[in-house]
Structure formats: structure tokens, C-alpha cells
Symmetry: C2
Subunit: 475 residues, 2 copies
């Protein structure tokens, strides 16, 4: 095509553009819906429901790793609490989950300076057997440093990864650092290593090792993999820096058991004139086993149930159906989310808007989204309704969480009230994930931010448009 | 005696009082000694010796509970480092220490809501055997509440003590709370209990149980005793508050082994014209086994060795002899301190002034003392020399630490640069007592405060007078 710079052509473009914009011009929320949003916000800031829920879940159920007795107890808890709060269509939808048992893990420096250090096996890692493994150790910063070693450098050795995660508000430090946990054992094994020890993917200087899944590959042996805390990783680095050979001993009695039937727990606040459209609120019911899963993800469960409860108590009923889904097994491969997708294959398009809370207990500090750009003015309207909560306006590149990733890939728009993750990775996946880490005021503020956003999302007078697939996040 | 209120008698008292005051009027420090104090202060603020020492002790030795292999390694470390720093008369002076092995401990709530929680056996507590103990539980706040229970209320039960320690800068909250750990098991046993679980004597909301010694009595059975962290104690209180019966399971494989020979490690900076007078600098070399003893009492060891090293490097030599004593076994009955007293019985009076550092890594926030009141102007002079460090002037009722308690009872005056203990009991006696908790700047400031005080104490032109015995402190 020839270059077209004529005034007539420019005018044509202008007219077409105006028409196109007019065609998709977002509609405004009704006064009544905005008033209800204010009511929700104020009620949420005074409502103890979410805190009571996370208190109850952590006290009465506690750890609930996929496949464990706590997992079953959590499903029963979720059904009971949804019924108690008056949700409808409350149900457990089957999901198959792995059942990995941690057993006991031990980590010791044998030389140059003998010490034992607290440790946690990485999720899914194989055990050493009772005899453990004694081996000389090689220290590397990260995967790139491992790859750069001379051939044979880690043969029959234990590899120690030292890279430290960066603290950020949006959790972006985690994604950069976690590749060592996810792929370090497989990559070290491919080079002949017999075990891996990582510096915890953590921002804390407290002596809590962090767990989390590792992923083996089909073309390398499975080797045991442990994590030690930041202060112990620092101490081990100092042992290496003595210049003397470092010899380690690792032991883990972890093992894989047959998969188990668990369930996503689902409940709804039914819609009215647009009831067939679903606004999905996702959080996950499983936790790691070392702590009681207060931040990860008891708080998310509590926020979403608290939001739905507050919307249910409004005089008005929502236009779209609000569906809370407490997913099984987020931590160990998101099999709950995959089961939900498979079971709802015929209704994917009905999921018109998604929210996920899986990043601690707040407060919410910004409002991001991933919607069709033409619908950004709707997000701006929601942002204005949130003004008393003093959020930052985020961009339209929200990555969302792991449990809604499947729906997102299929075009579902998301709105993301961003939970402040500055301290989240001090606690996440450790024994220290307890109710003491939940600030009741921050939790109430988070419920307020989500409640306003969810309500307006459910009331939007126009139609939520499908969006292009995002880059995936890893959490 | 009749009441004497006559003016003549009052005048007599006034004259006698004035004479007495004049007779003991404290002398002033020389300009040279004050100048050297300034030099010490400034050098200390830039000196890395103390941090290097605590780094080395925690990295190369690590945990060093009385009687353990780490205890032996610590003695060797102390001798080596004192020699390296150029101290003289470096020696190990034998002390017999207990050898209690922690083994493994487990704590589980069996009902109403089953959960396991991290736990540590109290120091010296007996084990349960491999079979453990299952029993119903009774919750009480403290010893007074236990005593107030009806007869038979804790018979065959596990007693759970819930009282929470108060956070204070001077550590006074510890003394109030620690009686439960020290005497709770013995008192519960006397009432027929079969086990004890305490809320850790701790100010932290992190999930670290705190250990520390308990004391059995001759007239009650020895029963197992465990500690759980504050967040877990809160969770257990909530289980009780459900109103349902609480049943617990405790297990501990701890055991007492034969006593072991350890040693106090001693080194000196020799005095000159008053060399026979000893200014003693005490800290303890042992630690609890869960952490690496960075704050308790690696920091104290480092401060005292750092002080002596800086004084040794002055152009001037001290008038009195500065003796650093790294005591064995402070944690388990202060047998190192007792051995020191016994071995130095003939020379008690030669210990003219004492300093002890056993309260973390600083900063120093006040200057207290226990000296003859007539000598308080000397402390005031020292306080003025510390002015750039911005300390608070404390009182003359300093209680001192555990290792110098014996010398204090025998009349030795003490000067106490007070280490800030606000956060000390977050970490003390836990796995989290690591180098990460040592702030290098606070440590340098502490060395500066101690160095000035020790130096001027060693140079005082007058004679240090003996003082009346203090109330004893428990730490």
C-alpha cells in the first residue's frame, strides 16, 4: 500500500476512530451501585468476618498440605463456613491432588566447621533414605553460574545455591529468585550432582527455612534438595570463604504417596439479570505444612469469603453471579485449578471477570487490571470509588495469580487489588506463617478494596470484553 | 535508746556526715587518662574486632552448650583468640559442667483440633521416653493461678502456663515471667501433674520456642517440661477457649549424661603500679544449643575481648590488671563462675571492680553502677567521658549479671554499661540467636562504652571501696 498522507485520508481516520471509540465507550455505574460500593467499603472497614475466618481456619484446621488430613479438614471447614455465611450452591468439586510426605530432614556441615542447621526439604523432592548422603560441596550463585562451571565440576557433589532474593512490594523479586528452587535440583542432577541445598527463596533474616516445590525433569536423575535459612546460608558461605574444603551431610525421609481425592470448595451469591455471567473470586485452601497457612493463603480465603458475605448483606442483589472458589492444591501444581477448568470447559466464556487473593493479608496498595484497553475507563471509575483507601493506580498488565491463570489464558479479564507484598516473603512457605502475622486492620482494608472492586465488577452496565492471553506468573 | 531530737545532736550528725564525706572524697582522673579514654572511644567506634570475633565464634564453633563438643571447641577458640590478640597469662581454668542432651521433642494437640507445634524441652528437663505422654490439659496463667486451683485439679494432667512476658528495655519483664519456667514444672509436679507446657519466656511473635533451665525440687517428682512459641501459645489458648476438653501429647528424649570437664578461659592485660588489683571483665562462652549464641553471649565475649584488645593497643598501660574471664556454663547453673570463685578464694579482695556483658549486642543506653555511694562522683566522671555516646545516667542499684554475682556478694563494686534489651528476648535462647541479629554499629558503640568505663575503672587514682551485697538477679 502507498503511503497515504492526504488531508482527506486523515479526516477519514478521525471519523472512523471516533465512531469506533463511541461503539465501545464504557458505560457508567449507576448512582445506586456507587452508593452501595461506599456502603460496602465502610462496612468492610468495620467488619471482623475475614479475621474470624482466618483465625478459625488456622486454629481449627492448621496446616493443610495437599493430600494430608488437614486438606480434608479444610474442605469440610470451607463447606461449613460457606453454608454458615449463607452462600448458595455450596459444593465440593473433586480434584485429584498429590500426596507428598515431608518426613524428617537434616542438614549438617561436616567440614571445615561442623554444625547442624535447620532445614526443610523442597516440596516434591525425593528422600535420601535413612543413611543420608555425605559429599563434598560446590558453591554457586545461581543457574547461570552452575552452567558456567567446567565439565565435571559438580560430579558426585552437593551443589549449594547462594543467590539471595530481593525484597519488593509487588513480589517481583520472587519470580527472579525462584528459578533456583524450581529448576536447580534438576539442572544440578543433569551435571552429575548428588544433592542440592539452596538459600531459601526468602527475604527474612530469621532462621526459618522456606519450602516450595521443585520440578524434576525426565532426563536427569531425581536428587534430594533442601533449603536452609538466610542466616544459615550466610554462615555456610563464610565456611566456604575460609578456603577449606566444605563437606556436607543431607538427609531427608520425604516420600511420594498415591494421589488423593480432594476438592475445590465453591459457593455463590447468585446474580439477577446477568446471573449467567460469573465473577469468580479465587483463593486457595491448601497450604504448606510447616506453618498454618495464615498468609498463604488463609488470608486470601478469608478476604474472598468476607467480600461475598458483605455483598450478600447488601439490600441490593448483584447483577452477575459472584462465585467464590477455594481451590485445592495451589502449592503443588495447581491441580485444583486444572480440575476446575476441565469441569467447566463448557462454561469458560461465562467467567466474565476474575479476582484472586493469594499474596498475604494486605493492605491493598494499588489497583491494577488486565482488561481490554477500551474498558480502562471502567477501572478508572472503580479506582475513584476506592479513593478513601488511598491506593495507587496500577497498570493494565496485571499477571494475576496461579489459580486463575487458566481462565486468564482463555481470555477472562481480571481486576487486581494489589496486596502489599513487602514482608510477605519473610513468612511465605515457612513455619512462621501463623495468625500472628495477620494484621487485622490491614485485612479489613483489603476486604474493603476487594469488596468495592468485586461489587462494581458485578454491576458493570456494559459487557466485560475478552482479553488477549497474558504472560504467566509463577508463584 | 531514747529519741534524740536536740539541736546539738543534729549539729553533731551534720559535722560527722561532712567529715565522713570529706574523708572519702573521690579523686579526679588525670588529663592523660581522660585523653586515652577519648582515644579508646573513637577507636572503638571504628574497630571491627568485636564483630569479627562474634562472627568467628558463631561460624567456626556455633552452638556450645555446656558439656557438648561445641563447648570444648569454644574453649580452644577462646585460648587461640586471646593468644592471637596478645593477651597474657592466657589459660584454661577447669570447671565441671553438666551434660544434658536435648534429644528430640514433640508437642501435639490431640483434641479438640489436632495440630503439632514446634517445641523445645526446657533445659535439664527429663524425657518422656519414646512412648511420650498423652493427657488432658489444664490452662493456668502463672504460679499464683496454679496454686489457687482446687485440690486435685491438675492430678494426672498436663499443665499449660499462658502468662506472657512484657517487653522492656532493661529486661525487667524477664525476671517477672521466668519464674514459671524455673519453678512451674516442680510446682505442678507437687500437685500431681504429669507434664508441663509453657508459653515461651519471650517477647517475639515469631514461631521460635525458647528454652532455658528449669529447677526440680527434691520433694516432687521430676516431670517433662516443654516450651511453645507465642503464636502457638495463642493458638492453644484459642483451643481452650472453644470450651471443649483439650488433650495434649508431649514427647522428649532428653537425658542427663555424666558431668564433663570444661574450662573458664582467662587472659589479661597486666597492670602497672596497681597490678595486683584486678578489674574483671566477665562474659560467658557457653550458649544454648538451639541457636549459635550470637547474642547470648557471643556478643558479650566479643565486647570484652574487643575492649581488652583496644586497651592493650594504647600507648599507656593500665594501672590495674584487666582480666577477661570467659566463663563456662552460665546457662546451666553458673558452675564456671562457682569454679572461678573457689579457685580464687584467696584473692577475692583483689577483684576490685567488675564488668559483665551478657545481654546482647547493644547499643549501650545507660550507665548504672553499684559502688559505695561516696564514690558515685567517680561514676559521674566516667559518665561525662561517655557523653558523645549519649547515654542515660542510671542509678546505683545495678544488679549485674549471673557470672559476677558471687564476686558481687563478696563486696566487689560493679559498673554497668547497660545494653539495650528491648529486642533481646525476641531471640534469647531460641534457634534464631544468629549473627544476623548482631548489628555491627551497635556492637561497636557497645565496645566504646565498655572500653571507656573499663579503662577509667582501671585508672581510678583512688581505691575502689567494697560495697554491700546486692539483691541477686536471675537471667
Amino acid at each position: 500500500m502507498h503511503k497515504q498522507n492526504s488531508p482527506v485520508f486523515a479526516l477519514l481516520l478521525l471519523i472512523l476512530g471516533t465512531q469506533s471509540s463511541a461503539a465501545s465507550k464504557p458505560e457508567s455505574f449507576t448512582r445506586a451501585d456507587l452508593a452501595a460500593a461506599s456502603t460496602l467499603r465502610e462496612r468492610a472497614l468495620a467488619d471482623a468476618t475475614a479475621y474470624s475466618l482466618v483465625e478459625s481456619l488456622t486454629t481449627e484446621v492448621g496446616p493443610r498440605a495437599a493430600g494430608s488430613p488437614g486438606d480434608k479438614a479444610a474442605v469440610a471447614w470451607g463447606l461449613r463456613e460457606m453454608e454458615r455465611l449463607g452462600f448458595v450452591n455450596v459444593r465440593a468439586a473433586e480434584a485429584i491432588v498429590p500426596h507428598w510426605e515431608r518426613g524428617e530432614a537434616e542438614f549438617a556441615v561436616l567440614a571445615p566447621f561442623p554444625q547442624t542447621m535447620p532445614t526443610l526439604a523442597l516440596g516434591g523432592s525425593i528422600g535420601t533414605g535413612e543413611e543420608g548422603i555425605d559429599a563434598d560441596a560446590v558453591m554457586v550463585k545461581d543457574l547461570a553460574a552452575l552452567t558456567a562451571l567446567p565439565a565435571g565440576a559438580v560430579k558426585d557433589k552437593i551443589v549449594f545455591f547462594t543467590n539471595r532474593m530481593e525484597r519488593t512490594r509487588d513480589g517481583s523479586g520472587y519470580g527472579k529468585a525462584v528459578t533456583v528452587r524450581a529448576s536447580g535440583p534438576a539442572e544440578a542432577a543433569a551435571l552429575g550432582a548428588v544433592g542440592v541445598v539452596i538459600r531459601s527463596i526468602s527475604t527474612s533474616d530469621a532462621r526459618f527455612p522456606h519450602t516450595g516445590t521443585t520440578r524434576y525433569t525426565i532426563n536427569a536423575p531425581r536428587i534430594p534438595a533442601l533449603a536452609i535459612s538466610n542466616p544459615d546460608a550466610d554462615a555456610l558461605v563464610r565456611q566456604f570463604e575460609s578456603g577449606k574444603p566444605v563437606r556436607l551431610r543431607i538427609k531427608s525421609t520425604s516420600r511420594d504417596l498415591p494421589q488423593v481425592r480432594s476438592a475445590n470448595v465453591i459457593g455463590e451469591i447468585p446474580g439477577t439479570d446477568r446471573a449467567s455471567e460469573i465473577v469468580i473470586l479465587g483463593a486457595h485452601l491448601d497450604s504448606w505444612d510447616a506453618g498454618v497457612g495464615a498468609l498463604d493463603d488463609g488470608a486470601g480465603v478469608a478476604i474472598m469469603m468476607g467480600v461475598a458475605k458483605l455483598i450478600k448483606e447488601l439490600d441490593a442483589r448483584p447483577r452477575r453471579t459472584i462465585r467464590v472458589v477455594l481451590f485445592a492444591n495451589e502449592e503443588f501444581g495447581t491441580s485444583g485449578s486444572l480440575a476446575y477448568l476441565a469441569a467447566n470447559e463448557a462454561e469458560i466464556e461465562r467467567h466474565v471477570l476474575g479476582f484472586e487473593a493469594d499474596f498475604g493479608a494486605g493492605p491493598v496498595w494499588r489497583l491494577a487490571s488486565r482488561v481490554e484497553p477500551a474498558q480502562l475507563p471502567v477501572i478508572d471509575q472503580i479506582f475513584r470509588a476506592l479513593a478513601p483507601l488511598k491506593l495507587v493506580r496500577g497498570d493494565n498488565a496485571a499477571k494475576g495469580g496461579a489459580d486463575l491463570a487458566g481462565l486468564s489464558k482463555r481470555g477472562m479479564p481480571i481486576i487486581e487489588p494489589g496486596l502489599d507484598g513487602t514482608d510477605y516473603f519473610d513468612v511465605h512457605h515457612t513455619a512462621n506463617d501463623t495468625l500472628a502475622r495477620v494484621d487485622p486492620e490491614a485485612l479489613r482494608q483489603s476486604v474493603a478494596a476487594f469488596a468495592v472492586s468485586v461489587w462494581l465488577g458485578a454491576q458493570y452496565p456494559g459487557s466485560w470484553e475478552r482479553v488477549a492471553a497474558p504472560k504467566t506468573a509463577q508463584r
